[in-house]
Amino acid sequence: MKNSSSRGFITSLLFLVGGLVAGLLLGVILHALTTGKFSANYFTDVPSWMLGFLVGALAFFYGLLGYNGVVRGLVWQVVGTLSGAAFVTLVRWILDTVGGGEYTLFDLRNYGLSEPAWVFGGLVGALSFMAGVGAVGDWFKWAKGDETHDHHPEEPTWRTYFGVSLDHKVIGIQYTMTSLLMLSVGGLFALIFRTELALRLKPDGPSMDIISLNLYNSLMSLHGMVMIVSILLGIAGVINYLVPLLIGAKDMAFPRMNAFSYWVTIPAAVLLLGSLGFGGFDTGWTGYPPLATRAPLGMQMFYLGVWVAGWSSILGALNLITTVLRMRAKGMTAFKMPIFVWASLATSLISLTATQMIGLAFQLSMFQRLFGMPFFDVAKGGNPILFQHLFWFYSHPVVYVFVLPGLGVISELLPVFVRKPLFGYKWVAMSSIGIALVGFLVWAHHMFTSGMNEYLRVPFMYATLLVAVPTGVKFFSWVATLWQGKITREMPTPFLFLLGGIVVFLLGGLTGPPNATVATDLHLHDTYFIVGHFHDTMFGGYIFPFFAALYYWFPKATGKRLNETLGKWHFWLMTPSFLILTLGMMRIGLLGMRRRIADFDPTLGFDAWHVILTISAFGIALAVLIFFFNIYKTLKSSEKATGNIWDSRSPEWQVPSPMPAYNYEKEFEVVGEPYDYGLPGSTYVKM
């Protein structure tokens, strides 16, 4: 088994290379056909490379799995996309011919087909993926009036993870691995454009050294959205794996919808990354019109990808809320729930509702491009500010979607490592809900310079500053929990990441009020100060706690503990690199470095700073590579860690690792407080 799978892996790598070359050649040939001549420059075409990556990925998974699971999904997506596009083209051709016009079937210079054809094709392709991978079959059976069998959990093999499974633990790991993949892709994009920023090979004048302006803009824009999708997948992974275990449920409330929520992110990711192959786009991750209405076709693929990914957020949140409200173990009243469950609930309330708004904003902009509907065209009575309101109504609260689970992880794990009760449990629980609710009232602080009505500025400024109150409650709780804690000398890796998270999130938090205050924001808006600020909040609120959670629960999922030495290398390389990166960003931002620009005036004197920042970025990348190597090494090693290695009171650690397929053989009962560490005689759950 092991042998055949590893031989399969090597063969699959060959398939990958072969597919990449074949796709690239196909792209070059298409380009040569469309222009009628051939040039060696065609080998550096981004669309051809994207085609290469797509065919390569397909070939790789085909080598690994055969025509199954994700491979069938991707093939159906490609076929669906082309059929959808062909359908629209045909309909338009018929309509036009009947109307007496002459419709050009293939505009070869413009990706062959028209924009509406590709957009409709993209949508059909995403739906085809879901049908191909097999995530919707049971629903069709229900519609036909047929019965389906409830699933029976089985011990997963590695193949289980590449196909549809209804087990929340498998889905949780699928989410997490996809998230790490997207994290690497988004990080790679950042490394490419950071390298461009650091290089100045031509001493005067504009200096684009390794990539074009269009590619810089596209990569920079995609870095934002790919990372956002990665974070959404990461929190969905941790929530999916943990919440049913923490509350003593057998699975999520709607297992099929759970599988749907995961799998729909794959075609969404393909669309999102596919935007690079359709000319990219240059709006940044926000996709503001009116620039968006003039951007290349990649803009539409970006919109569509985010729109499809939104379904994952909405349905995942719906599932989680129902699970928490309906499936808690006996005795687990609201104020005996683990803090992480509270945080997941708060986060899901936002995902459930606000996600509709970004979907709507992007849909309106898509329709403006497709049908000329002038929602954001001032000349015809539209209003571009409307887009920003709708967009930020989601995109501000969503930052709390990103950080609340992370802050929940910190509160959840801190007491384990300091062997003390969590300070102010109820306040911490309510602060998550508080942040989520206040988060709905602050969106326009992103728009102080947008030209919106001026009377809106001050109310939004105060509402924003109000967020500091529930967040402050969390910090107070962490500090008071750490106070006089029994911290061991060796400082296990998850604990290091918790502390790192607290420090970095504090930096992010403290740099927030200057942006929230109108007077200072008018200066700071659209500078690297903002970039530094939100990278601090994202790393402190998500990346550090996410890694803490991975180190902490990895033994639960696999029965093996990640290597401590490599873990410490990971932490001690990533943390200083990251601090240099963001503090440096804030410094040059204060001095006038604009964000999102591909090049800058050499006389500003930021050249050296950009070199330092780029080196730091590579430091973070190296740290993450060490983490990947750690996973590989740990999975290969034979050392087992099946017991309660952290000495936790939480129910999932009271059963052996890896977690049995059925979760708990018998339902447990909650009989005490969750975080009474160090109190003699206290118990949380009775197994």
Binding site: W142, A143, G145, K250, A253, F254, M257, I314, A317, L318, N319, I321, T322, L325, R326, M327, K330, L352, T353, A354, T355, Q356, M357, G359, L360, A361, L364, F367, Q368, F371, G372, M373, P374, F375, D377, K380, G381, G382, N383, L386, H389, L390, F393
Partner: protein
């Protein structure tokens, strides 16, 4: 047995009363619109109408009903029913934000003006949808009594009325409006009108498909007085589509003065 029957006839009667009240309120709405078109009054009436539908037709209170002793058996029908109900309502909450966003777009772009539309047609399709809600409620009530035949008849009438609404909006109202110069690409008002009615019509269409599925399955002998979750889900969803129109109708046809 007699008390059971009493409560059944009660809910049929309740459906009729609810419909009469809703029809009356719609008439009041129209009257307000031709007299002073007050935003406040029209919004208030819309909220009252929506509240009535949510309570008497969508039975939101079922979410908070006490469960019986089987509540903790996650394989029991009672548990699954209550869980599905919660899931459906959460979906509706989410979807409501989409329509809320469209209303925000409408008031942001058009303010207190409204596009020039065919009032008779508007009132006509509104009446069709309202009547379809009545028959939908009747269908669900009959199924709860175990009257499968009565259910199929009422659900089929609902389907026809819904189809009438859909065709009326997309194939009569849209060409009409376009003929009058209100095109999707001509002005923000046109864009808003086609987007709102289009998005709503899309939901009507999915509701019609859902209705078709439950009618077909009922004809094949599925569902019983005790177990008919799919019927309840289709009903609640259909009424939700009606609730959306309760807000969209005044927003598009009644509120504000005619725009240029």
């Amino acid at each position: 047995m007699s008390s059971n029957e009493h409560s059944h006839s009660n809910s049929l009667f309740q459906g009729i009363v609810t419909f009469v009240v809703l029809a009356f309120l719609t008439a009041v709405e129209f009257f307000i619109a031709i007299t002073n078109a007050s935003l406040l009054l029209l919004t208030t009436v819309a909220f009252i109408k929506a509240g009535i539908v949510v309570y008497y037709y969508m039975h939101i209170y079922k979410l908070f009903e006490d469960e019986d002793e089987h509540a903790h058996d996650h394989n029991s029908f009672a548990w699954k029913l209550a869980t599905n109900r919660l899931g459906l309502w959460l979906f509706i909450v989410s979807d409501a934000f989409l329509f809320g966003g469209l209303l925000v777009a409408r008031f942001n772009l058009l303010g207190l003006t409204r596009p020039h539309l065919d009032q008779v047609l508007g009132l006509g399709v509104t009446a069709a949808l309202l009547l379809s809600s009545f028959f939908m409620n009747r269908a669900e009530t009959l199924m709860a009594q175990g009257d499968r035949k009565g259910f199929v008849t009422s659900a089929a009438i609902t389907l026809l009325l819904g189809l009438g609404f859909f065709l009326g909006v997309v194939f009569v109202e849209w060409p009409n409006a376009a003929h009058e110069g209100l095109t999707a690409s001509g002005s923000a008002a046109g864009a808003v009108f086609y987007m709102m009615t289009g998005m709503h019509a899309f939901h009507v269409l999915t509701g019609l498909i859902f209705l078709g599925i439950i009618i077909r399955n009922a004809l094949r002998g599925h569902y019983s007085a005790e177990q008919h979750w799919a019927v309840e889900a289709a009903t609640v969803y259909w009424h939700f589509v009606d609730v959306v129109w309760i807000f969209f109708y005044p927003a598009l046809y009644l509120i504000g003065r005619l725009g240029g």
